[in-house]
């Protein structure tokens, strides 16, 4: 018997295990943590223990019930998440810039060049921006409140990074356009594979077990 089944059997014996597992799956997908899920299930258990009804009869389909709860879930920023966000931002910026520059150079039949200092500055700026995300909640709500503001913010950031690259002088990273495009796409593809692998083997339910309220 899986540990989830055992946990449900012990803590929510009046809730049909299949129904409970359906609710757990939906709530996990929506980002609820173990404590929130445990509390939600215990309330179902408490209700059914008194009413004698089945979960399906009283609460409907588990997926729909879990959705209706509309639990407040948010990103809980941990140091590793902050570092991860910064790393992703940096890699996306690096790969994207290389690929874009290579494509542009190929189209204009010019040399593919990137100012190293400008690139480094851009990497630091993107990394710092991503690493500061835990503090954005308030300002972000204002800045990104509407789709128009989203577009303006993204375009503005792109303009700043582009200007840095255009205006920076000093040693240049020079590659054949095709090589620069290849390098950029390789970096982006590698990131994609890493993110995919991390999500597959990443946070497992045992990292955040169900926690039931205790009195």
């Amino acid at each position: 018997m899986s540990s989830l089944k055992r946990t449900l059997e012990v803590n929510t014996p009046h809730v049909d295990p299949e129904w409970a597992q359906g609710a757990v799956a939906e709530l996990r997908q929506r980002g609820a943590d173990g404590a929130q899920i445990g509390a939600a299930l215990l309330e179902v258990e408490s209700h059914l223990a008194e009413s004698g009804a089945t979960a399906a009869d009283s609460f409907g389909h588990p997926t729909e019930y879990a959705a209706a709860l509309d639990l407040p879930v948010g990103v809980k920023w941990t140091p590793s998440k902050v570092i991860g966000a910064a790393a992703v931002g940096i890699v996306v910026y690096l790969g994207g810039t290389l690929a874009y520059t290579g494509v542009l150079a190929g189209i204009t039949e010019a040399e593919a060049q990137l100012p190293i200092l400008g690139l480094a500055f851009g990497l630091v700026l993107v990394g710092a921006t991503a690493a500061s995300m835990p503090y954005w909640k308030g300002p972000l709500r204002v800045i990104l409140g509407t789709p128009v503001r989203w577009v303006v913010a993204v375009v503005s950031l792109g303009a700043v990074l582009g200007a840095v690259l255009l205006l920076a002088s000093g040693p240049q990273l020079t590659l054949a356009p095709a090589a620069m495009v290849f390098a950029g796409l390789l970096i982006l593809a590698s990131l994609g594979l890493i993110v995919f692998a991390v999500r597959r083997i990443g946070k497992q339910p045992h990292d955040d077990p169900l926690r039931f309220p205790s009195v």
């Binding site: 509390a39 309330e43 408490s46 008194e50 609460f59 209706a68 639990l71 407040p72 309220p213």
Partner: protein, 118 residues
């Protein structure tokens, strides 16, 4: 007019009135857990309210600061989450009850003649 305690009302009607009725029940009988709230609503003539309807509503009340909640030991059973009205909830109940009374007077006047003819 006779009111059957087991009468099931149209879902659209209940959707409009349930929040106000639930707040009223909690105000009158707090602290109350979810199943007890459904029992009071049923006894008052609202019919059977399923958990799938009530608990998301209670969750919204809690997030909006209209009710406070805490877990207490159950009598020979699982722990129960009991709800009480906050000052904000009492204010909301009072305001909405006033408005509902006006609303129901308006609708009653509109359909009065139809009911007499029936």
């Amino acid at each position: 007019m006779e009111t059957s305690h087991t009468q099931e009302w149209p879902a659209q009607w209940l959707r409009g009135a349930l929040a106000l009725c639930a707040l009223s029940v909690i105000d009158s009988h707090a602290p109350l857990h979810g199943y007890a709230i459904t029992q009071h609503l049923s006894a008052a003539g609202l019919g059977s309210i399923g958990g799938g309807t009530l608990y998301p509503l209670l969750g919204r009340f809690e997030r909006d600061g209209l009710v406070g909640a805490e877990w207490v030991a159950g009598d020979n059973g699982p722990a129960k989450k009991v709800y009480t009205l906050t000052d904000r909830g009492r204010e909301r109940l009072h305001d909405d009850a006033k408005r509902w009374r006006h609303f129901s007077q308006t609708t009653n006047a509109l359909i009065a003649r139809k009911v007499e003819r029936a």
